[in-house]
Symmetry: C2
Subunit: 491 residues, 2 copies
Amino acid sequence: MKLKIKRLNLVAGKPVCMIHEETAQKMSLHVANRVSIKSKSRRKIISVVDTAKGILKPDEIAVSEEIFEVLGLNDKEIVDVKIADGPRSIEFIKKKLNGNTLDKNEIREIIFDISNNALTEVEVAFFVSAVYKCDMNLDETKYLIEAMVESGNIMRLKGLVVDKHCIGGVAGNRTTPIVVSICAAAGLTMPKTSSRAITSAAGTADTIETIAKVDLSINEIKKVIRKTNACFVWGGALGLAPVDDKIIKIEKIANIDSTAQLLASILSKKISVGSKYILIDIPCGKSAKVSIKDATKLKDKFLKLGEKFHLKIEVLLTDGSEPIGNGIGPALEINDVIKVLRREDPPYDLEEKSLILAGKILEMSGKAEKNKGIEMARKILESNKAFMKFEQIINVQEGCVKMQEPAKFSYSIHADRKGKIKHIDNFFINKIARHAGCPEDKQAGVYLHKKKSDVLIRGDKILTIYASTKEKLEYAKRSYKQNKKKMIEYW
Amino acid sequence: MKLKIKRLNLVAGKPVCMIHEETAQKMSLHVANRVSIKSKSRRKIISVVDTAKGILKPDEIAVSEEIFEVLGLNDKEIVDVKIADGPRSIEFIKKKLNGNTLDKNEIREIIFDISNNALTEVEVAFFVSAVYKCDMNLDETKYLIEAMVESGNIMRLKGLVVDKHCIGGVAGNRTTPIVVSICAAAGLTMPKTSSRAITSAAGTADTIETIAKVDLSINEIKKVIRKTNACFVWGGALGLAPVDDKIIKIEKIANIDSTAQLLASILSKKISVGSKYILIDIPCGKSAKVSIKDATKLKDKFLKLGEKFHLKIEVLLTDGSEPIGNGIGPALEINDVIKVLRREDPPYDLEEKSLILAGKILEMSGKAEKNKGIEMARKILESNKAFMKFEQIINVQEGCVKMQEPAKFSYSIHADRKGKIKHIDNFFINKIARHAGCPEDKQAGVYLHKKKSDVLIRGDKILTIYASTKEKLEYAKRSYKQNKKKMIEYW
């Protein structure tokens, strides 16, 4: 059908067009959701199509700037519009949905099409469902990772490139800045990219951002690493396996997460930055994201994938049943990190866990002998070398190491009689911190004065909530009160 | 966040808004895909949000006409925009995706939200995947049907209301006009709504449309039925269980079809028009949509659902391995129907199958005694009463019964030596007819001069392809040639 171009002046991030409802019906567009548009210059594009009225006439097709440019169109140019089939990868998605195994080329084609916006979000949702329900075997997962890496930018770095990743879910668990500082001080290269908080109160990127810039370009990162051996950056805009972000965006809609996708998400980013020694931290247990049983299965898959990719991967199952450190929220967490690095009243659990992780990486990479890693890590920390390395990285990332003031409104919970802290639930604490304004409000959060098994006497401070507005403080207080019974056992 | 309204002049059929990329990032909109918009007049709407640039500035929110109206907005009004949670039904979809059984209220809420566009197409895709992978038990299917019926229009008709439905897939199988004419002539009320072709060469609506109007309103249908006892109309725009169309649209994207959705799709439409006696025709066997094994299971479910709804449902498993009748394509199929009704050289198989189906309905409804239905149907056909009823309905639907000329370009395939027709594959014949232009081009199609087991001598006409352009004729010829070996066995 011949239709007249109506330029939409819309940059949508992908080719998008709209056809009048009546025209769509004439073209039997109810059975398709894509059209091919051919310009006078005989260039052609396949685009997802929406129907609308008001904005355009029946003989018009409204197109986003992306289409306008690709086709080299003129305003009001007449184009030839036809129903187009979806890409072949839809068949492969259906094949997976029916429980079949996909081969390398099929997976590559799906990932390539997601990457190029050739598959719509609805089709990606079918892919996500298929992988969630039917899982992927190790070979499929390997192909998935390879295709994801191929879809994005790749960094090549000199030296012994090491990395760590934590599955997350534990409130306050901000080991990364400490581990990276220790490892970089030991001479290892650690191009650490982190995420921002999605469902928790703070991500490592949010936390570092309280004192330094984290949204660096790949070239800026390379400069930081050349100077310091390491970096703390936000991975979101680097184009490392970017197709992963598109898939995660769809997963989040139904709040599901398949094992294959989890493995691919983590390893594709690590492989993209050239890491050769990777330590995975899986916090498990009560109120953690992962049960011990699932963590054991996950560990096995990580190790097998490590073999397939000729990477040295080690996996630690750590205790994730309680928050780690005292601060929850970006500013309060960076304070905990600085306390550990500066040796000033450091939260014991955060320090110990960081030393275990750093020690393991030192051993894996050959910097320390077997079973001597923690000792070496402790020396680096106690000698102030880790703090100096941290300060150096933060300075190169245009920042300054400084303890942060929490938000101005605060409310402390006190024990009203004798008792004991029974259990501090990660979900519960994250929720209070989020209601107080985290992670958008970096000064907001929760400070835990007491931890599990601590004995309480009347008047003891249990925790303090910080928020930038009275409303948020009230909101956070309410969510504390609703769940406090689980936390404290009074005598 | 406070944003300025930019009116989009877009009627999208649902609330849609766009926010500038930068603003979306500030609002952490990467984790959500919905916002709540509150107007000065304190009215509020939840809308799906897209990010864009070009069309709007960072401090603007572009909204479709639907939002503009609901909120009673003024141009450039400042509104309050916040991230909004998705509806609760997303949790129920996830529950199903995890293999759990849903209760009545959960299913109602999902269907209600699909119906009101509160769930996005991506979320519907998760629902479709969940039902496809995890199936629904009979109670769930019943709730699904009830919710679908509730979501749409309902017709109340007097008399013994009967209906038939064919699962489809058999080329040329146009029994409906004949069965309806016989049953209506016998005094039964038969409010027959049909679909247009989706993957086949012609649907009943496309076929009737060659000689009468099929897109009637509910009021027009009621008038036709009052005058004639029956109708042949397109069900697509009547708003009968309209949520079904939304679900099917998403199913088609991945080309999947769950049993529960199939059952719900058929029965919701029948219940919406008040049918009490329903005959289901499941063509099965080689080259049919359904295997005999699956057909048997499907039959069992239909019967059990019939009991749950206190409806009299019967199911016939018919031979669907070969095309029925000679014409394939709307015009060629209406010709077959007219030949049967007028008793002029009728295709034997089409006539026999129509009599079996009509006979069964006459028995189910009590018009005929047990085992006397076919005899009664044959009498009605042979007495010309069925033809007179057909003509009456067509006339009331502003049409005229007249044999149709096929498309002007044609090409006949002849036997080049002695042989026999081995098997005529439904998919193969449908494909040739579609390549010739069906169903959009109603005069296009295929005419089968020979059927299965017919003996051929050199020069015998096997089939004729009709198309409106030489290009389409060539295209159809090519698809014949690629597959002809399966069809003919030469001696």
